[in-house]
């Protein structure tokens, strides 16, 4: 009887480990910076993390506040800096992709209203496998920042 209970207990633990826990995709450290004066283009930085055992593809990012949100990456090769537009983004299994100054980043164009510090912004991440992930934040001032 004791042996049966032990086996049963082991079986439950193994089963629990194979079940997904929490959301498949998370967004953290999201920062949306106010546009430089006169530019009208906001920048965004964040960390996207795939918690599943399969790759996740971000097919696009939208926002009710901006006409378009683009994923870009600054690449320096042979002393030439280029900004590449990313049509989609694959996040490998159990890994994270960081959007940060000088690397991958978001550019947000044509806001429907004034984009100043404190204004609420919602971003929608379209994930090929899991649907839509919506995250909200407020625009952050560039004061004191050097990007």
């Amino acid at each position: 009887m004791t042996r049966s209970l032990k086996l049963l207990a082991i079986g439950i633990v193994a089963s629990a480990c194979s079940q997904p826990v929490g959301p498949p995709l998370t967004v953290s450290d999201l920062v949306v910076l106010e546009p430089l004066a006169g530019s009208g283009i906001a920048a965004g930085y964040l960390v996207l993390e795939n918690h599943t055992d399969l790759p996740i593809t971000i097919e696009k990012i939208t926002s009710p506040v901006f006409a378009s949100v683009e994923m870009h990456e600054t690449v320096i090769q042979d002393d030439i800096a280029r900004m590449i537009s990313l049509a989609s983004l694959v996040i490998e299994r159990q890994s994270a992709v960081v959007f940060e100054p000088g690397g991958k980043h978001l550019m947000m164009f044509d806001a429907s209203g004034e984009i100043a510090a404190g204004v609420p912004v919602t971003l929608e991440f379209h994930d090929s496998a899991n649907g839509l992930l919506t995250v909200a934040t407020t625009v952050r001032s560039r004061a004191g920042l050097q990007d």
Binding site: A37, S39, E70, D79, M83, S85
Partner: protein
């Protein structure tokens, strides 16, 4: 940073080769965030070409899939002396330590 032991802090000039986006207003806002004494410069493309050609700087406009554009450009910092003569060039990637160590040597302050 560089002020330690230095008698003359270099005058920093940031040149934008994207006058379409980087208006004087945008440039002023941007360079103002890095402190005083930094000059932002842009201008007509033909004038920018004269400057960049003289310094060996490359730039070109590239369009992307979404209909927008980017500017490919040399990722270098150039040091010129008071006579507007080429003095040195820092290649990317840029690290603060390199500037702190090398600029005083280049400018003869060490």
């Amino acid at each position: 940073m560089l002020t330690a032991g230095a008698t003359d802090f270099p005058h920093i000039v940031l040149v934008s080769v994207d006058p379409e986006r980087d208006s004087p207003e945008v440039m002023a806002d941007y360079v103002g965030r890095f402190g005083d004494g930094i000059t932002g410069v842009t201008g007509r493309l033909d004038e920018l070409r004269k400057l960049t050609s003289a310094l060996g700087i490359y730039f070109a406009k590239s369009t992307n899939e979404t209909g927008g554009y980017g500017i490919d450009h040399s990722a270098v910092v150039i040091v010129v002396n008071e006579n507007a003569e080429f003095q040195a060039l820092f290649r990317a990637p840029h690290f603060v330590d390199h500037f702190v160590t090398d600029l005083p040597l280049i400018t003869g302050q060490k």
